[in-house]
């Protein structure tokens, strides 16, 4: 780890043309810090308490996910891809599976699409709750941390009931979702729908008119719309600058064009506007979840029928997570040899995807999540590139934080809501 200032520190801000000042102090806000939202390192140049320039240094969580995907089958790569942006695992899986389904030329059955939308929106709620909890903690509002995680536990209970895991589920698979909802899940989700609106109102009452919260967030980290587009920023940050770009509305997937929801924008382009947008987005997600629950009344298949693509097993949630159901194990071990051979081939080798490349976008809680998948006709991916929204949004931090105080830099990073797993992959 180098301790000198790296070259180019004078002007890391891509929009500025000033010369570096000579009487400033260079301070490292290191990868291990309670307020930098994960392992993000900031190299700050300070003039007293004012920030002259700030350079984010990333790479402390680089995991080699993209290289590792090239050595696994198409279905196994889901387990890798889901751990990139670990607070929105369903969105990673969804982008990847949609890309592979486009390469294969298949489409998931309608009930699977409804389930995908349902879990994506629940994931959006849980991700925004973590943003609220950690953002509040970093700015000093410690009780918001406890409230945010309390609500998140309720959402994670639903995830655990349906997929067997609280985080990093490999639930969305190529051709559909891995299994249907267990009995009792829809009631639990309906209970959540009854409780959450009141809780979100509680957060609003606690924070929205709070003078300290307004003082720390209003007018801080302003990002003009033209700057935002030039820097490639997407998601709530772009919508806070007044531009109504939402992939669910502009390039719909999984039937989003049939759901009713609003795209929330604000004009102020500061941290307070992003706070308002994310709270409101939680409410819109609840609206979509309610519509999903209505559509789940009709039963149907959740995985595509083609035997060359579908995951062969019937799974169910057991005592230690998802596993093959005992009835299916009995079928392949005792009853049918072809089923055993087919199961073996599909699990070890998997599906063969025709040649081609596809760029699939999805609206993750942080912005436009893109998955660029290249196939060369084999049973393994040739290249999986994850276009993570936080990777691009972090580039905008110098533009927003330069000229402010250090404490404002914390507020700016909290409003960007980066997840370092996605940034570094």
């Amino acid at each position: 780890m180098s301790r000198e200032a790296p070259p180019g520190l004078g002007s890391p801000d891509p929009m500025s043309t000033e010369e570096p000042r000579q009487e400033t102090m260079i301070i490292n806000m290191g990868p291990q810090h309670p307020s930098t939202h994960g392992v993000l390192r900031l190299l700050l140049e300070l003039d007293g308490e004012t920030l002259v320039s700030c350079e984010p240094i990333i790479g402390y969580l680089h995991t080699g996910i993209e290289k590792n995907c090239e050595y696994r089958s198409w279905m196994q790569a889901i387990a890798f891809v889901t751990r990139a942006d670990y607070l929105a695992p369903f969105h990673n899986e969804l982008a990847y599976c949609l890309a592979v389904e486009r390469l294969l030329g298949i489409e998931a059955p309608p009930r699977a699409q409804v389930l995908r939308v349902l879990f994506s929106e629940l994931n959006r709620i849980s991700s925004h709750l973590v943003w609220l909890a950690t953002g509040g903690l970093e700015l000093g509002a410690v009780s918001v941390m406890l409230y945010g995680f309390r609500e998140r536990e309720m959402v994670l209970d639903i995830f655990e009931m349906a997929t067997g895991l609280r985080m990093n589920h490999a639930y969305i698979r190529i051709g559909g979702v891995v299994m249907d909802l267990p009995p009792g899940a829809t009631e639990k989700i309906a209970d959540l729908l009854g409780v959450l609106p009141g809780r979100i109102k509680e957060y609003e009452d606690l924070l929205a008119k709070n003078p300290i919260w307004i003082e720390r967030n209003a007018g801080v980290g302003v990002l003009a719309a033209a700057d935002a587009i030039a820097l490639g920023v997407t998601g709530p940050m772009l919508r806070a600058s007044g531009i109504a770009k939402d992939v669910r509305r502009d390039e719909p997937y999984c039937g989003y064009e049939t759901y009713e929801f609003d795209v929330i924008t604000r004009e102020a382009a500061d941290c307070y506007a992003r706070f308002e947008i994310r709270l409101e987005e939680m409410r819109q997600s609840l609206r979509i979840v309610e519509q999903c629950l209505d559509r789940l009344e009709e039963p149907g298949p959740v995985m595509v029928e083609d035997p060359k693509v579908r995951w062969p097993a019937q799974l169910e949630v057991g005592p230690d997570g998802i596993g093959n159901s005992p009835a299916y194990v009995k079928h392949i071990m005792e009853e049918s040899m072809e089923a055993l051979i087919h199961h073996f081939k599909m699990v070890t080798e998997g599906v063969k995807v025709p040649e081609g490349e596809v760029y699939q976008v999805v609206e993750s809680p942080r912005g436009e999540l893109g998955m660029y998948v290249v196939s060369d006709g084999e049973h393994r991916p040739y290249r999986v590139k994850i276009r993570d929204p936080s990777f691009v949004n972090l580039q905008a931090v110098p533009t927003m934080a330069n000229g402010g105080l250090i404490a404002d830099a914390i507020a700016v990073i909290a409003s960007v809501d980066p997840v370092m797993g996605g940034v570094d992959r």
């Binding site: 780890m1 180098s2 790296p6 070259p7 180019g8 890391p12 891509p14 929009m15 990333i58 790479g59 680089h62 080699g64 993209e66 290289k67 590792n68 050595y71 696994r72 089958s73 196994q76 486009r102 390469l103 587009i229 030039a230 820097l231 490639g232 920023v233 997407t234 531009i243 770009k245 502009d250 390039e251 070890t348 081609g356 490349e357 596809v358 760029y359 976008v361 436009e368 893109g370 660029y372 290249v374 040739y382 290249r383 590139k385 276009r387 990777f391 691009v392 972090l394 580039q395 570094d424 992959r425």
Partner: protein, 165 residues
């Protein structure tokens, strides 16, 4: 504009246009890259102002070896296009797009880090995700996956390209 209309609009000056799976890809040589990107950004009916991603793919044994792809999106017209440039193995250099799209800064640093493709004109081209003194460019197909599998007693560790778990 839908991809078919975009294809007709662009095919006049840039004949190498591929329309597949609902996506439009324009293939250019590295000398025409910046002109094409400027035209895509500035023309009124195109106005591709958001550069989503810059990445590369490695095809060892084929010519050209590296294909760098730029994903462009238009906020005003809501359409997408991909621009691809092929680079030979012995000279992986390319002009940088940071003068047109400031967001290309970190994307190009990542592509350099993973593949060793040098972007001329980039303000600060150095490694971004890997440690500063790392040798090699790990996402090239000729580089190994690395890592040592935890050795349990009596377990058989298959070679890297045949691992299924």
């Amino acid at each position: 504009m839908i991809p078919a209309e975009l294809a007709d609009r662009l095919r006049g000056e840039h004949p190498d246009v591929v329309l597949a799976r609902g996506e439009l890809t324009v293939l250019v040589g590295r000398d025409e890259l910046l002109d094409l990107l400027a035209e895509l950004r500035d023309a009124d009916d195109l106005s591709f102002d958001l550069l989503s991603s810059v990445t590369a793919t490695d095809w060892p044994g084929r010519e050209p070896r590296y294909w760098v792809s730029y994903e462009l999106y238009s906020v005003t017209h809501v359409h997408r296009v991909r621009v691809k440039v092929g680079l030979p193995e012995d000279d992986p250099r390319l002009p940088s797009a940071t003068s047109l799209f400031p967001t290309a800064d970190w994307h190009e640093r990542e592509t350099y880090d993973f593949y060793g493709i040098v972007f001329d004109g980039h303000p600060d081209l150095r490694r971004i995700l890997l440690p500063d003194g790392w040798e090699g460019h790990p996402l090239r197909k000729t580089e190994e996956l690395g890592g040592v599998n935890t050795r349990f007693k009596g377990a058989f560790i298959p070679p890297v390209d045949r691992r299924t778990s």
